[in-house]
């Protein structure tokens, strides 16, 4: 599959042949400008491939109505993008509302999700986004993306804008949510440690194509080329040791 933007001399993404298993936590890892966000955005058709096809559950995404498709796919971005004129509850309930759920069902779902991301519904439901910290806002962003029980969750550098301590706790949360719900997650990051920490499978990208894919340990132990070796870097040995401790203990 490939994507070439109009007027661009080189394609943003080219020759990608990738299958992500249902329930997998797949992380697209690479330097900025490598095409990882573009690749992510082809999944919910915010970007259309200029060549090739993209299948979800065996069906070509282009044969489905783009709006309909997106309502069934969770979407979380670095800038969060909570709607400032909506309360937390209205933000979380926005996709169920688009899908025409009854209000009682939406309310119940909102409370369930706020508990899932560990924000007390009684305290947070009626807050406005400006009353949230960066970490709380991104938790709400995750809850909003999960509201209509999507089978796939797309996350584009979701934790890049928060400080290291909050990032670590958000990483723990998303790992836990993934374990509890079994949602397929496709997660974009340029942060090697984040990728190693979260991924079942890492997809390393550079200059618009996939350089290597595999479980974190394999990427660390057998980097496919010098680019991957430089990316995981001199700390590869320490990182490999850190991997041996299960996430839940950290």
């Amino acid at each position: 599959m490939g994507v070439r933007y109009a007027n661009a001399s080189v394609p943003a993404v080219h020759d990608v042949d990738l299958a992500i298993e249902a329930g997998q936590f797949a992380v697209l890892l690479g330097p900025s400008g490598c095409g990882k966000s573009t690749l992510l955005r082809t999944i919910n058709r915010l970007v259309e491939p200029t060549s090739g096809t993209l299948l979800i559950d065996g069906g070509d995404v282009r044969e489905r109505d783009a709006t309909e498709l997106r309502r069934g796919i969770g979407y979380v971005i670095q800038a969060v993008g909570l709607f400032p004129h909506y309360t937390v509850a209205q933000n979380v309930g926005v996709v169920p509302k688009l899908l025409g759920w009854e209000q009682v069902r939406i309310d119940a779902r909102v409370d369930e999700l706020l508990r899932l991301i560990r924000l007390d519904p009684a305290r947070y439901r009626d807050r406005k986004p400006r009353e949230l910290s960066g970490g709380e806002a991104q938790r709400v962003g995750v809850a909003r993306a999960l509201a209509a029980q999507p089978r796939v969750l797309l996350m584009d550098e979701p934790f890049a804008a928060v400080d290291a301590i909050v990032r670590a706790s958000l990483q723990d949360e998303i790992a836990r949510v993934h374990r509890e719900l079994g949602t397929t997650i496709v997660f974009v990051t340029h942060d090697v440690d984040e990728a190693l920490r979260l991924a079942d499978r890492i997809v390393v990208m550079n200059a618009g194509h996939v350089v290597q894919t595999g479980p974190p340990a394999e990427i660390l132990e057998h980097p496919a080329d010098d680019f991957v070796r430089d990316l995981v870097g001199v700390d590869a040995e320490t990182r490999r040791l850190a991997l041996e401790r299960p996430l839940i203990e950290r």
Binding site: L46, G72, G81, H85, V95, K128
Partner: protein, 203 residues
């Protein structure tokens, strides 16, 4: 102050006409400016044409525009409203364009990615987010129209300008003062009211 004191009812009636003139013009102007503003914000080339044309219209002296319109459609309130609608366009469209262009792109990306249609994104996300800035345009346009509408009396459209023209014609400074004061009070009141609205919709 003597004229306003002795002819309170007449001043109030003319003030009422003035308010109607401004309010009706503003409503019609908004109906035109909203879609044009959306187009101008979306499409750079259409935007520069729309802003150039409305900007050029804005530079026509008000008396000259009224004279031209009288020649085309005659005297009266309708003619005055057409002129006020034309003058309001540039300010209102600029407000809509500035408001929409100022919307955080992350909001639009999130809305599209979550499955809002283009129309839902515009109505439920972009307009609410742009509202404070757009209301700023409405406020400036309203205050301008209150001032401009005084000239409408020159073509028999009524309003507080009647006092100004009568005062000038009969050399009655008291009458001029009454008309000017009433118009100023109206402009300040509209300004305060719309500032309040802007604050209320700011998130």
């Amino acid at each position: 102050m003597t004229y306003a004191a002795t002819h309170g009812a007449r001043v109030a009636a003319l003030l009422g006409q003035h308010v109607v003139l401004v309010f009706v013009s503003l409503l019609i102007a908004l109906v035109i400016a909203l879609p044009l503003g959306v187009v101008a914000a979306r499409n750079a080339r259409a935007g520069s044409v729309i802003l150039a044309v409305t900007g050029a219209l804005y530079t026509i002296p008000s008396l000259a525009l009224l004279a031209l319109l009288v020649a085309a459609i005659g005297l009266g309130q309708a003619t005055a409203i057409v002129a006020l609608v034309v003058y309001a366009q540039m300010i209102l469209i600029r407000g809509v364009v500035a408001g929409l262009r100022g919307v955080d792109p992350a909001l639009v990306d999130a809305a599209r990615g979550l499955g809002f249609t283009a129309r839902q994104t515009l109505l439920r996300v972009e307009f609410p987010a742009a509202l404070p800035v757009m209301l700023g345009g409405v406020r400036v346009a309203t205050v301008s129209l209150v001032a401009l509408a005084t000239v409408a009396a020159w073509i028999n459209a009524g309003g507080l300008g009647v006092l100004l023209f009568e005062g000038i014609g009969t050399n009655n400074p008291d009458k001029i003062f009454a008309g000017a004061l009433a118009a100023a009070v109206l402009a300040i009141a509209a300004d305060l009211l719309l500032r309040g609205a802007e604050r209320a919709v700011r998130t």
